[in-house]
Amino acid sequence: MTVHNNSNLTYYVLHRRPYRESSQIVDLFCERQGRFSALHRVNKKQPALQPFTPYQMQFSGRGDLKYCQHVEIYYPSIYSTPINSDNTDTLEGAANRLPIRLPIGNSSVKGQSLKGRNLYCGFYLNELIIRLTWKDEPQKELYQVYQQTLIGLLQLDNDMQSEPLLRRFEFHLLAALGYQYNWLQDSECRDIQPEQFYSFDPFAGFNLITAHTHGGSAVQRFPGHAILAIAAEDWQHELSWSVAKNIARLALNPLLGDKPLASRELFKKL
């Protein structure tokens, strides 16, 4: 039996489903391996693995599906000395040029669990990762953003504030999937003008709407000043929230296909 010692990695559970009598197949997320599956033996006397909690664990077994062993909850230091808006640029590579700063405070959230509607947000993040990322593909940046988003959600007391956090995650996820948008220039490399209106093409970015290219009534029109506000991470006006949300949806929809996101149902009231 081989035991793989990845003791410095922290894993999050994205989803778990029962397997045989006393095991679960867990979908895990870590920076080195991205999303992958493993088996976990359920011991009724111990709490089951929970989503949104950071774990350290080791893996044993020869087959493709390894068993999680020595599972322990482990809070990395980021939970007690959280990121603030100034050091989000520790994210490496291109993704750090994405807009949307982390609008969170500085309180320690070690040991806390997501509450209220922020739980729905957590399910939403997990569903997006499961639906859109490839298995066994390293996701260093996305993992960091996921962790920061969870910490941000833990720090929020008002669930309305979760919107910019979710948008930030969505745009980073899109970047990780190869869709990175230019928020300062349109698809023809002209600067976005505050007084103009733009349409959004998930594969090309922003297109200026002119008298010739209004494209019919079905096209959503986004004011240039709202796009620039998002680029400048200015979340004061609700307009930028709704514009960011609509753009994120337009970008995600072709990737999600016909099957709607189940976690969005939770946000609808019965």
Partner: protein
């Protein structure tokens, strides 16, 4: 090569294997035991199985198992309609009935919200819960779903869906009776600390 068994015996062994925790070996043991040692008991078992499958359905009011339209708890007029306890499974009702002195109503969800698995408000009968709370003018809804993230999300959804006039409470989480503090995980400790009570 596997030995050829009489078809009826093979079928009996196969049938036992649908039970949780029963593999081919134990299924074979059970089948042979009934044949050799307790044919009368086997008759009873087959009769009870038949009866249960024919007669038991979900209670119209709480979704627990019932022979009639209402289960014995829902048809008991002595029970209070002040409070209602929401649980994930019929075994939770049994645990509460056997373990504590709760004299109110129940509602069984048969699971918890789990969007990725396609279990949403509809699958849990939450519309029926809302209707029950309203028609019985229930004052307090105690959400006793398991302390998992899905159980918490379910509790939150129930709170959001019920009118503000209804008090929605959540069962306490913390250190189990007879447990030891240093063996308890961080999440539970956190719940126990944040849900602490002043002694007086």
């Amino acid at each position: 090569m596997a030995m050829k068994l009489p078809a009826a015996l093979q079928q009996l062994i196969d049938s036992f294997q649908i039970l949780p925790g029963v593999g081919p070996k134990s299924a074979q043991r059970m089948a042979l035991y009934l044949l050799e040692k307790d044919r009368l008991g086997a008759e009873r078992l087959s009769h009870s199985l038949q009866q249960a499958m024919n007669k038991l359905d979900h209670c119209q009011s709480c979704r627990n198992y019932a022979e009639a339209e209402l289960c014995p708890i829902c048809s008991d007029t002595q029970r209070s309609t002040d409070s209602l306890c929401v649980v994930e499974s019929p075994s939770d009702v049994l645990a509460l009935e056997q373990g504590v002195d709760f004299n109110g109503q129940y509602f069984v969800l048969y699971g918890h919200l789990s969007p990725i698995d396609g279990i949403g408000p509809g699958e849990l009968g939450l519309a029926a819960l809302k209707q029950k709370v309203e028609s019985l003018s229930i004052r307090e809804v105690i959400v006793a779903t398991n302390p998992t993230v899905e159980g918490e999300a379910t509790a939150q959804f129930i709170m959001d869906m019920l009118p503000e006039s209804v008090v929605v409470s959540r069962i306490a989480h913390g250190i189990p009776m007879g447990g030891e503090l240093d063996l308890v995980d961080g999440g539970t400790l956190n719940h126990a600390l944040s849900g602490r009570r002043v002694m007086s």
